[in-house]
């Protein structure tokens, strides 16, 4: 689709693979997992995006309103590669609203979506380019979760044979750009309101 994107010559990595449990800078236990398919965890992810502060939207995503969020995720769910972060309640936190062990709420999500006209026909994940996005709920931002989640997404991507990952980010979104550069993304392509960045995986 469209013109050819540039990628760094040097691959980045290795990155950690999910699942992992990390402690964030606020001392919260955060569990990072890669669901086999997003469809299994769809409700919990929809709920997270429903709680997402619309002022933090980027280039029109996530959409607002539960129906539109579900619609958006369903459209990309099947062929996408995902990592999800749950806040695991500590033993001393009393989890009042869920009887069963829910594993805690989803508080962050990152994904890769194939840039292909017919995603169902993909034979090798390395044949195509994958677009990345990451979202961390406001109450959990700036605690290191975004960095961990991004690394685990790239680790998981590498495990399933993905080599080329790109994204666009609003040029003024300094937190996101800092995060991407830290793991090895480099600016590529023309700059306009959005900066395009790319990374090559081992």
């Amino acid at each position: 689709m469209g013109r050819a994107r540039l990628y760094p010559d040097e691959p980045s990595g290795p990155f950690p693979s999910p699942p992992s449990t990390i402690e964030d800078r606020e001392g919260r236990d955060i569990e990072i997992q890669a669901p086999g398919e997003l469809t299994t965890d769809l409700d919990a992810v929809v709920e997270m995006y429903d709680r997402f502060d619309p002022t933090d939207r980027a280039q029109g995503i996530p959409p607002t309103g539960e129906d539109r969020i579900r619609n958006w995720l369903e459209t990309i769910a099947e062929e996408s590669v995902n990592v999800i972060a749950h806040h695991k309640p500590n033993d001393d936190d009393i989890d009042v609203d869920s009887g069963a062990d829910s594993g805690g709420d989803v508080i962050a999500h990152a994904m890769l979506v194939p840039d292909a006209d017919d995603p169902a026909a993909i034979e090798n994940n390395s044949d195509i380019e994958w677009e990345l996005a990451i979202f961390v709920l406001q109450d959990y931002q700036q605690a290191g979760i975004g960095t961990h989640l991004l690394k685990h997404l790239l680790g998981h991507a590498s495990d399933v044979g993905i080599e080329r990952v790109w994204l666009t980010v609003e040029r003024w979104n300094n937190p996101a750009i800092a995060l991407y550069e830290r793991v090895g993304f480099e600016a590529s392509g023309t700059e306009s309101f959005e900066q395009e960045m790319s990374i090559r995986l081992e």
């Binding site: 029109g60 995503i61 990309i76 979506v113 677009e131 666009t168 700059e191 306009s192 309101f193």
Partner: protein, 122 residues
């Protein structure tokens, strides 16, 4: 109203033109269509010119159809400055596979430099 619409050669351009023609028919605007030089797009300038012509006759709308050479953003803004236009219309960006809205460098140039109201068509 005197409207100038700028077109590259993408499907987005076709959508922009269709919507603008519909609007012209509804409200009786004066319409000028500028076909830009964008070598990397799906349709060549000539193809886009022909397609615009066909859409106009199909709709029975009378409009000025011009080709603008050179850098698309600045050629369009120049043309807008030289005519008596009230509004400049361009495509409102493409959607990435993820669903992100992407505005290209032409859109950015036009938004930051046009003397008129700019309309982005989605």
């Amino acid at each position: 109203m005197n409207v100038l619409v700028g077109l590259g050669g993408s499907d987005e351009s076709i959508k922009t033109l269709r919507q603008t023609i519909d609007r012209t028919q509804d409200v009786g605007d004066d319409l000028t269509i500028a076909v830009l030089e964008k070598p990397e797009s799906k349709r060549s300038q000539d193809e886009m010119y022909e397609e615009a012509n066909a859409l106009l006759s199909e709709a029975g709308v009378d409009a000025d159809l011009v080709r603008l050479e050179g850098d698309p953003g600045s050629a369009l803004v120049d043309h807008a400055e030289q005519g008596e236009f009230d509004q400049l219309v361009i495509g409102g960006g493409t959607l990435s596979p993820m669903g992100k809205i992407q505005l290209g460098p032409i859109t950015e140039f036009v938004l930051l430099n046009a003397p008129t109201t700019v309309k982005l068509v989605r």
